[in-house]
Assembly symmetry: none
Homo-oligomer: 220 residues x 2
Amino acid sequence: MTTVLIADDQPLQRFGFRMLLESQDDMTVLDEAANGTEAVRKAADLRPDVVLMDVRMPGMDGIEATRRITASGDRTRVLILTTFDLDEYAYAGLRAGASGFLVKDAQPEDLLSGIRAVASGDAVVSPGLTRRLLDAYVHHLPAGTPEATAPDPRLAALTERELEILTVLGKGWTNTEIATRLHLAESTVKTHVGRVLAKTGSRDRVQAVICAYETGLVQP
Amino acid sequence: MTTVLIADDQPLQRFGFRMLLESQDDMTVLDEAANGTEAVRKAADLRPDVVLMDVRMPGMDGIEATRRITASGDRTRVLILTTFDLDEYAYAGLRAGASGFLVKDAQPEDLLSGIRAVASGDAVVSPGLTRRLLDAYVHHLPAGTPEATAPDPRLAALTERELEILTVLGKGWTNTEIATRLHLAESTVKTHVGRVLAKTGSRDRVQAVICAYETGLVQP
DNA sequence: GCCACGGTAGTACCGGGGTACCACGGCCTC
DNA sequence: GAGGCCGTGGTACCCCGGTACTACCGTGGC
């Protein structure tokens, strides 16, 4: 069950969100807040999974409230909602620690799936902003990916496929899961896993996962 | 009306996508392709608004096909679909010019709204990847993220002994090793491990180790 | 006194994981 | 064409890991 705190200065807006969220089996609205100060206090009090945060509010605004909530150390995630997808708001909100940024004219389903994604630790931003973020990101990293090609000697002997297998081992997948999701026979998976263990000097998949973390192939 | 070309080597998968898309009033499937070469040819021929592109295909893969399609100068956008969100695929695909990257286990509505977003020039990536992109992006900005993670709630329920067990699980120890090195009976170790798994929501010790890394209990 | 909780330990059972081996097609390089 | 590497698949076997119970003993709180 995902618990939500709604922070918005417009009662009618809050009502709409509450109706939408309460119609879902897996969501419940803990409380509402009409400004940033109230949002920070109630977030600390109720420890909701997600705070639905409006940007423009009297007194403390949503950005500052987001900063304080994410700085508190609680697990609470903030999803910022605004009427316009002005970049200044978005970037400021994301730098303040928000897990997402959606425009209010999004489809209800988008809002719901956004809340679910944020609650599970993922991030969500509206498509228009994604485009701009992506451009900025690709522009910032012209050549390679963060971990372009593994420099760690322990992974040097691994083939592409074996690196792939090691990566999904790092996700905690079982052999049968790997088989179905990669469209392979389980015997093939076992062969690959066996070779990964041999080449990385791991006794079992647990040590292989540790190896994956230590080499930076997968990251927490 | 958004025109779409479906590129996937699995006929059943293509059929599913076609059924879903054709059920929408504003979409039409121009044609299908079973590999990258075919996708490039048909994209140049039919000039679809969007190409739904699978990554893994025999012959030319989806990444290379994406590169050629976006390099052609046509207005055609490419939305990459894959079974799992391995970063290598995502980054490679996005660098190849794709406008989006979604995992196949996404909700049908997410796929549809993704196609519409891409067709209108926006970009879409799956929530999990958004998180990582965002982290990388924010990390590149002057103002850092206040990611001060206090003791993770997933570990809150664990007793001292159980934290100890989880820590040595993170070292890759087997049950018998834990037993001898901590001077316990193996049955006791099993009891502890079982409780750790239950409390951390892990299916097996592999997932528990991942949890240990993600919570920062053990570090690479 | 009693109860809850944490740590310890036991038994029984079964499924998945890991090993050892073999095999075949595709691709590359001599 | 021969050989090697890689990815794929198969069979057979054994053991560890995980589950589902139950049980006892301290300690601390009411």
